[in-house]
């Protein structure tokens, strides 16, 4: 009887005993890391919708013997239900499509080229990751942080390097939130005072409701036919936008951008947090991923601004090169950064609508870049 009671008592506090042992050190460190994520989300308002569930998932998975990440456990079930099969990021894309107004881009479709330039960091980072010794598919997953697009990064990484999902996702969302800090020094370093003060004409409304309605269908068809492997990404974002523009399924549109997106964001965050178990997460690779992710976003900005300078020169100074920085997908932060930087040197310079066009172009650009990448990988026999 006494032995049974003692055995029962030994079950209590086993988590604490495991944590204070040497083997529990990685979990202890990750509990602190989960706390930092929660602090960033709650205290600093850094992508709270994602960082709060990710941080809490990280805390849950690092408490020993909780069993949440074992077969049948809550976090493992959520992971299998929507991350392993890539359903969650795609459902979020339906919501993003329902939220985005592509009008600024439709007013000036050439802005899509800024969206293309803003993705160059993805492909340049791929080479850096390969140079650091990551495998081909790991490098693809790390490089996609440069898409500045959380769901795209999660979608690609869960296919090609699921063991890196935690690091890639946290890096992607953290750096997206840091765009207002990362971009301005690069923009200033690459442009002259004269270039930064270039004024652009006011955009007049020129797009009909029909054109706005047909745009998502056209993008799906053209993008899907060129890079079919990316159709799930392109198709879902455009489905959301088509519902928005049609105006006849307001209930579905609202559900996509609110209820569905909210529930899926919670599940997705917890599932990503579950990949941050100490022993698997605390590796030199994780540090390298954070470094490469930072470089990816810097290189995106460099490529965007350099492209902006080329367009500025080609048009005889009619385009403000700062617009190029908005070609990354971080929406709408990058557009706001351009507006603020433009007005820093000329208070009457209104670049916001042009930047919003480039920024929505970047949203499509990041998906197209991922689609192209996935289709090329498939053609190489790796998809």
């Amino acid at each position: 009887m006494l032995e049974t009671i003692l055995a029962g008592i030994s079950g209590l506090g086993s988590g604490a005993l495991s944590l204070v042992s040497v083997a529990g050190l990685p979990n202890l460190i990750m509990l602190a890391a989960g706390g930092v994520l929660l602090y960033l989300g709650v205290g600093k308002n850094v992508e709270p919708l994602l960082l709060v569930p990710i941080g809490f998932g990280c805390v849950l998975v690092n408490i020993p013997f909780g069993g949440l990440n074992e077969e049948g456990g809550l976090l493992k079930t959520l992971y299998d239900m929507g991350v392993a099969n890539e359903v969650f990021p795609l459902l979020i894309f339906v919501g993003i499509g329902a939220m985005i107004d592509f009008s600024p881009l439709l007013e000036k479709p050439s802005m899509l080229l800024f969206g293309a330039a803003g993705q160059c960091g993805i492909f340049l980072t791929l080479l850096l990751a390969l140079a650091l010794g990551f495998t081909n598919l790991e490098s693809v997953s790390i490089a996609i942080i440069g898409a500045c697009d959380g769901p795209t990064a999660i979608y690609v990484t869960s296919q090609y390097a699921p063991h890196l999902l935690g690091a890639v996702s946290v890096a992607a969302y953290s750096y997206m939130a840091l765009v207002p800090i990362i971009q301005p020094p690069i923009m200033r370093a690459l442009t002259t005072q004269k270039e930064r003060t270039v004024r652009m004409p006011t955009i007049r409304k020129s797009v009909s409701a029909r054109a706005r309605l047909l745009f998502p269908i056209v993008v799906t068809l053209v993008g899907g036919l060129i890079a079919p492997k990316g159709l799930p990404l392109l198709g879902t974002i455009m489905l959301g936008n088509f519902m928005r523009e049609s105006g006849v399924v307001a209930r579905l549109t609202k559900a996509s951008e609110n209820e569905i997106a909210n529930v899926v964001t919670l599940f997705l965050g917890l599932a990503i947090g579950s990949t941050m178990e100490g022993h698997a997460f605390l590796t030199p690779q994780t540090l390298a991923i954070f470094g490469l992710g930072f470089l990816a976003i810097c290189l995106d900005t460099v490529a965007g601004v350099v492209f902006g300078k080329i367009v500025c020169a080609a048009t005889g100074g009619k385009v403000n090169p700062l617009i190029g920085a908005a070609g990354i997908s971080a929406f709408p932060m990058a557009a706001r950064v351009v507006q603020v930087e433009g007005q820093r040197y000329d208070k009457r310079n209104y670049l916001l609508m042009h930047a919003a066009g480039a920024n929505t172009g970047g949203q499509i650009g990041s998906v197209v870049a991922a689609a192209v990448m996935l289709s090329v990988l498939q053609a190489m026999g790796l998809g």
Partner: protein
């Protein structure tokens, strides 16, 4: 395939593929705007 062939292939095909696809999308969008111009009521 060695890793540098892999990386350079993705770099070249990836960047050019992204630019060409988005340029085509821009072109088609311009055509879309021309085919369905703003109605007079919408201008108001």
């Amino acid at each position: 395939m060695d890793k540098w062939s892999f990386g350079l292939t993705l770099l070249v095909v990836g960047i050019s593929g992204t630019f060409i696809t988005l340029w085509l999308l821009g072109l088609v969008t311009e055509l879309l705007k021309k085919a369905f111009p703003l109605e007079p009521e919408e201008k108001k």
